[in-house]
């Protein structure tokens, strides 16, 4: 008998092992998958861009001699007391509730040491965070958990949250395991219940109302505080224009790679746009209104390195925000806890069940024993180091492009490696002068 070669086993590109596993999980449980984090699928990102650096027509700045500034001013449009940060990398809103008190403290310590701001999150302002954050942005969210005028006044800026990149149009859910006595008290809810965060604000609808809401917030705080409006990456041109119209000092734009404490996986992976696709549209809206650099733009969603910072700023952002990367810097998903991740059925680097409150690293939990594993002083130091490295990296690139301030980076410094990246970023495909959709093709 002739031994013919067999066709090797072949997996479907549509029904991949991951897809099949999710079908089986859904069939067994009858409920969608909830997880934390942002989009895990591959989307066009800053990796699709490259800087050109200096050449005969551009000359660089000396890396160890010539200055490259990194400061940023936020809130120059209306606020009496704009924020001045040493670096353009801010810490995004993450709630006490989603994170432990010591983790919030560490964010404050690290950010303050690096000369930047932190942001509260759903659930109100904690003393740990206010006490350790030199500059604190207070989120004004649909749920209004813990909202009060005293905290509004002791914040350095106010961020009206309309949406976030992981789930534009979605609310939130903090599962009962994380509603400890303290979280319940701050949110005025019974302990241990699943807490819902609304997807819409309770007392305004649409941009005209938002303008009046911002007037109220400005009046309550005597026009001192910069007011940010945060939107998820969904319709960035119009959302940015409407935010400007509503009276924002700062627009915060969060792409789909931006994390959440918990929502449906199907939402995270299928709603919203990558941040790369959002920035040029938002910048265009600001330019069309004559407000670029007057209303500042902070972008977030997948910022990991100084290269990402530089690319975002070259596309026109005034600053960036990091969330997931900050948690990783603190120690989230660190392989040192691998044995415990294995017990939870996952592995370091892939752990995303933050909503269950069993984080081995003690960061996304309200369990006192787990939270005690985390040292806020050490965590703060790690975050400071990481922010400094990102800043040095961004400066290195900016100097190579001949820029003496990160804000002087420009789209002309960039090319794209992929057609998608070129189309979204509005920069030429490398080695060509082709910008898809812009130059006659």
């Amino acid at each position: 008998m002739t031994d013919f070669p067999h066709t090797p086993p072949r997996f479907s590109a549509t029904f991949t092992p991951d897809v099949n596993a999710e079908i089986r999980r859904a069939a067994a449980t009858g409920i969608y998958d909830i997880r934390g984090g942002g989009a895990k699928r591959r989307v066009p990102h800053f990796d699709d861009l490259l800087f050109l650096g200096a050449s005969i027509s551009r000359y660089p700045l000396e890396g160890y001699r010539e200055r490259c500034d990194t400061s940023v001013v936020l809130g120059t449009r209306f606020a009496k007391k704009p924020i001045v940060l040493d670096i353009p990398i801010t810490i995004a809103g993450m709630s006490f509730g989603a994170l432990s008190g010591p983790a919030k403290e560490a964010l404050g310590r690290g950010a303050s040491a690096a000369g930047t701001s932190t942001t509260t999150g759903d659930g109100g302002m904690t003393e740990e965070e206010r006490g350790h954050s030199k500059t604190l942005v207070y989120q004004y969210l649909p749920s209004r958990y813990g909202m009060n005028p005293d905290d509004l006044r002791r914040a350095d800026a106010i961020e009206v949250v309309v949406g976030q990149g992981a789930k534009p149009g979605g609310g939130g859910m903090l599962l009962g395991q994380k509603i400890s006595d303290r979280v319940a008290e701050m949110r005025n809810l019974p302990k241990g219940i699943d807490q819902r965060s609304a997807c819409r604000h309770p007392d305004w609808t649409g941009p005209d109302d938002l303008e009046i809401k911002i007037l109220e917030l400005r009046e309550i705080t005597d026009w001192e505080k910069p007011i940010y409006i945060k939107v998820g990456g969904s319709r960035p041109y119009y959302d940015t224009a409407l935010a400007v119209k509503a009276g924002a000092d700062v627009v915060v734009l969060d792409g789909m790679q931006g994390g959440t404490a918990a929502t449906q996986d199907v939402f995270i992976e299928n709603v919203g746009m990558p941040i790369l696709a959002c920035i040029p549209q938002a910048v265009q809206a600001l330019q069309d209104l004559g407000m670029h650099r007057k209303v500042q733009l902070i972008v977030s969603g997948g910022i990991r390195s100084g290269a990402d910072v530089a690319k975002a700023m070259a596309l026109g952002a005034d600053a960036v925000a990091i969330g997931t990367a900050a948690l990783i810097a603190l120690g989230d998903n660190d392989p040192v806890w691998e044995a415990e991740y294995q017990k939870l059925g996952t592995t370091a680097g892939a752990y995303d069940d933050w909503h269950e409150g069993r984080d081995p690293a003690g960061i996304t939990t309200q369990d006192p024993e787990l939270a005690a594993r985390f040292d806020p002083v050490l965590g703060g130091r790690r975050l400071k180091n990481y922010l400094k490295v990102m800043t040095l990296e961004a400066q290195t690139i900016a100097r190579a492009c001949g820029k003496n301030h990160l804000h002087n980076l420009e789209p002309e410094d960039l090319v794209a490696l992929t057609i998608e990246g070129a189309a979204m970023a509005g920069v030429p495909l490398a080695g060509t002068n082709w910008i898809p959709g812009k130059t006659g093709f």
């Binding site: 209004r144 219940i193 699943d194 309770p202």
Partner: protein, 229 residues
């Protein structure tokens, strides 16, 4: 009595003036004239003042009030007394949408009717409405008490937490997880006190009300309840 003419001195000066009155002051009685539907009148006040607004107000009058008694001698626009912390807000006329939204304390009295979403997401405030309330009132209400002498619209108390709702008239429909509950003596005593404080003691008796609250079936997410969401 200090009289402040909003038409001539403007909103910014009004709120700045009221904010400056912290702690002890002899300037406790204020009258604001020419309100003319302006937004954000007397917001963020944090002093035991007695303020009367002559005329109707726009959005967010008395927003985030602490300590002050603010009386609106007219109708109130959307979001009156939103996120109030303490004190009292009394509206002689009707109130628009989201009256008392997310209020954390104090007392809101509406002598006319209140529109939709009255007491939405309330977190400890007491609300007494002499007339009727619109649809989706007390949506996701967390705590506090709402007393309605008239009728309630559709979906009263949808996704309610621990707030107590008392309605004297009809309820067009109850929202998800909101049920009628037994009125016990303690509730009658509380209601009598609320009616008295709400300037409605002479208009209704506690025995005429029915009590509504959370069935607490949606407190923990359960896929079998998906149809209720």
């Amino acid at each position: 009595m200090q009289t402040f003419d909003l038409a001539t001195r403007g909103l910014r000066e009004l709120n700045q003036t009221l904010h400056a009155l912290r702690g002890t002051t002899n300037e406790t009685a204020w009258e604001i004239v020419n309100a003319k539907g302006s937004h954000a009148i007397a917001v963020g006040v944090d002093a035991p003042l007695d303020i009367t607004v002559r005329g109707s107000t726009g959005y967010y009058c008395a927003g985030m009030n602490k300590q002050a008694t603010i009386r609106i001698d007219g109708n109130a626009g959307p979001g009156v007394a939103e996120n109030m912390m303490s004190g009292r807000v009394i509206i002689e006329g009707d109130a628009s949408q989201y009256a008392g939204a997310t209020g954390r304390g104090g007392l809101l009295v509406i002598k006319g009717n209140a529109s939709s979403r009255c007491g939405i997401s309330m977190k400890g405030i007491d609300i007494v409405v002499h007339g009727s309330i619109g649809h989706m009132s007390a949506f996701m209400a967390q705590s506090g008490n709402m007393v309605v002498l008239g009728d309630a619209g559709d979906a009263l108390g949808d996704s309610l937490y621990e707030a107590r709702l008392f309605v004297r008239g009809s309820v067009k429909s109850l929202g998800a997880d909101c049920i009628e509950k037994e009125m016990r003596p303690a509730h009658l005593a509380m209601l009598a006190e609320l009616l008295e404080r709400g300037e409605a003691g002479h208009k209704a008796k506690p025995e005429e009300f029915r009590r509504y609250g959370s069935a607490r079936k949606l407190y923990t997410f359960n896929v079998d309840n998906a149809a209720a969401y």
